[in-house]
């Protein structure tokens, strides 16, 4: 099993994609984190919020995970490509010849992707942390790094990205055409889900919101921003984590049942 895992890790580490994506997560994630940082800043100076923005732990948490919405999409893409690339470049046959027990390949791929997903998650919250520092220094706030809920938010930020990588892999297993899987994945994340979320939000259908991957991620991170269509009555963090894990497992299990056993084309 360790050989299969090493092989799957080498597959990712020997192509450029992984560090280009890492760089994107870090840089673009940092840019995304500027949005909650500046908006908090703006809210404080114009509305005159009695609590200074950078003295509220919730504000800091939203900055730390500001890159999450972007990082999760890139994580999704990585996951799709790790699986779909094998079909696209017709290397699946070589892979299954090296490891004829196919479930081992799937599990090793999932484990290696989980590892890389954690790395992307780390890059994302690190970027958020770096963005927060100057604001806190200027506004004389606090990073709240002594608070447990800050660390929980950071940890779940990292974990949620790793789970999104696995959602991508699940899609890649289920849909053997990588380009199609990519269209479905990104289309769902950028078009279908926000539309549904907006609908559920307007209808105040919290369960629907909570069961969507974004809602589940928001529940994990403790995000309550209405602009992100956060539910009025969000799931607790562990419920959110369970929902997100289900979003990884459902396509993956369907894929294992319907596509993995099939003849390799």
């Amino acid at each position: 099993m360790s050989g299969v895992l090493a092989s799957e890790i080498r597959k990712i580490s020997t192509t450029k994609l992984w560090w280009i994506m890492l760089l994107c997560v870090f840089v673009l994630g940092g840019a995304y984190a500027l949005v909650p940082a500046f908006s908090a800043n703006l809210a404080q100076s114009t509305v005159g919020d009695p609590t200074p923005a950078f003295e509220a732990p919730g504000t800091l948490r939203s900055v730390y995970n500001g890159g999450n919405t972007l990082a999760r999409i890139l994580a999704l893409v990585i996951g799709i490509m790790a699986m779909g690339g094998e079909y696209r470049y017709k290397t699946m046959a070589t892979t299954y010849i090296a490891t004829p027990k196919r479930m081992r390949v799937i599990l090793a791929k999932a484990a290696s992707l989980l590892g890389f997903g954690l790395l992307y998650g780390l890059a994302s919250v690190l970027a958020g942390l770096l963005v927060a520092i100057p604001f806190v220094l200027i506004k004389d706030g606090s990073l709240f790094l002594t608070r447990a809920d800050t660390w929980r938010s950071l940890a779940f930020g990292v974990a949620s990205i790793a789970l999104w990588t696995l959602i991508g892999m699940g899609l890649g297993i289920l849909i053997r055409n990588m380009v199609l899987a990519m269209l479905v994945g990104i289309g769902f994340a950028y078009v279908v889900e926000p539309s549904l979320a907006a609908l559920f939000y307007i209808k105040h259908w919290d369960l629907g919101l909570n069961l969507m991957p974004t809602g589940a991620t928001n529940a994990m991170l403790g995000v309550t921003n209405p602009f992100l269509f956060a539910a009025q009555d969000p799931f607790s963090w562990w419920q959110g984590a369970l929902v997100l894990a289900s979003w990884c497992l459902l396509p993956a299990i369907a894929g294992v049942i319907f596509t993995v056993r099939r003849d390799v084309v």
């Binding site: 050989g3 299969v4 090493a6 092989s7 080498r10 597959k11 020997t14 192509t15 450029k16 994609l17 690339g85 470049y89 017709k90 290397t91 046959a93 070589t94 299954y96 010849i97 090296a98 490891t99 004829p100 027990k101 056993r261 003849d263 390799v264």
Partner: protein, 351 residues
């Protein structure tokens, strides 16, 4: 072709046989192979079990691709797996390698399917198609496979040298030519120092030097008691390399034979006044008769009988003989004759 099977049992250097002209010429191995062949050779090996294809069937939808196919591939020999395009060769090999599931029947190494082998990569090396991630270097492609094979980077570099890719090792696979991809795929198959080598159309994309190299390599491999099963539609290529041939057409076995036995079969070409009558007469004689036609008109290809008995039989039957020639039976012609025989009912053909 006219080779003697025993001559090839010697380890390096081998006899190289030029296809077609029947003359054997001694050739040296290309330097890149000679340099690296030493660490590959493991002289004492356990006796291998044959590859067993047993009543194998595969349907794609309603269309049968392989039909009730049975044959064995003996260890220590190179078996050429022949058939026209679409005959079911690749499908058979894919089932053997566990990439496709047989509809019925089995394809096994001894009694084990490929997935049941305890150390697949150390037992079987396989080149079905030379596909690589375009951004990964040749060396890294091998390192990915080395991880599952349980071998180190030194083995990777050894094989890159063996197949002549040491200089291109750190270039992405997208820059490789077809021949280089074939060689990289072969290197990947050999990482675990396997006992069996399964190759699908290995000569595709190789230049003449590469083909000569591969031929010498496979002979050396089989001479160590290991097993080679290689498919091809290039009949002369297999004829120059194989010890045994298995011919299939439309998913069915047409013929399994040893090359030496095939070479012993001379045949005669007969042109006569009455083809139908001659065919009956010769069939009654117990000869194998196949009809053919070339620019000079129809003829019969007759096997199992010498020219004397053919001539005498036709004379007694009052069939005028225009030509009676002893001909060398090239594998290529034999192959097409076998296919022709396959497609028409056996026995005397009525007029």
């Amino acid at each position: 072709m006219g080779r003697v099977g025993q001559a090839r049992r010697a380890v390096v250097p081998q006899q190289d046989v030029t296809p077609g002209n029947g003359s054997a010429t001694v050739s040296r191995l290309p330097p890149r192979m000679a340099a690296a062949s030493e660490p590959l050779v493991r002289v004492s090996r356990r006796v291998l079990e044959p590859i067993v294809i047993n009543r194998l069937n595969k349907n794609f939808g309603r269309k049968p691709a392989v039909r009730n196919l049975s044959f064995t591939v003996e260890p220590g020999r190179i078996t050429g797996f022949l058939g026209p395009n679409g005959a079911g060769k690749t499908t058979t090999l894919r089932m053997l390698m566990g990439l496709a599931t047989p509809t019925t029947g089995s394809a096994t190494f001894g009694r084990r399917t490929y997935a049941e082998l305890p150390h697949p990569q150390k037992t079987v090396g396989c080149v079905l198609e030379a596909n690589f991630h375009p951004g990964r270097t040749g060396r890294n492609h091998l390192r990915v496979l080395a991880a599952t094979a349980g071998v180190g980077d030194d083995r990777v570099d050894e094989l890159l040298t063996l197949v002549g890719l040491a200089e291109a090792a750190r270039q992405p696979a997208s820059t490789y030519s077809m021949g280089m991809r074939q060689r990289l795929a072969l290197a990947g198959a050999l990482l675990g120092d396997p006992d069996y080598l399964i190759l699908d159309e290995p000569a595709n994309g190789l230049d003449p030097e590469g083909i000569r190299w591969l031929r010498a390599f496979l002979r050396n491999f089989a001479a160590q008691g290991r097993t080679v099963l290689m498919s091809s539609h290039l009949l002369h290529e297999v004829g120059a390399t194989a010890d045994d041939i298995v011919i299939i057409n439309e998913g069915r076995l047409v013929k399994k034979a040893r090359m030496v036995d095939l070479d012993l079969h001379g045949t005669s070409r007969v042109r006569v006044s009455d083809v139908d009558r001659a065919e009956r007469v010769l069939a009654d004689l117990g000869a194998g008769v196949v009809r053919g036609e070339d620019e000079q008109g129809p003829y019969l290809r007759v096997s199992n009988q010498d020219t004397d008995s053919i001539g005498a039989a036709l004379f007694s039957a009052k069939v005028a003989v225009f030509e009676l020639t002893r001909v060398r039976y090239e594998l290529e012609e034999q192959f097409f004759d076998m296919l022709a025989q396959e497609q028409r009912p056996r026995g005397p053909v009525s007029a």
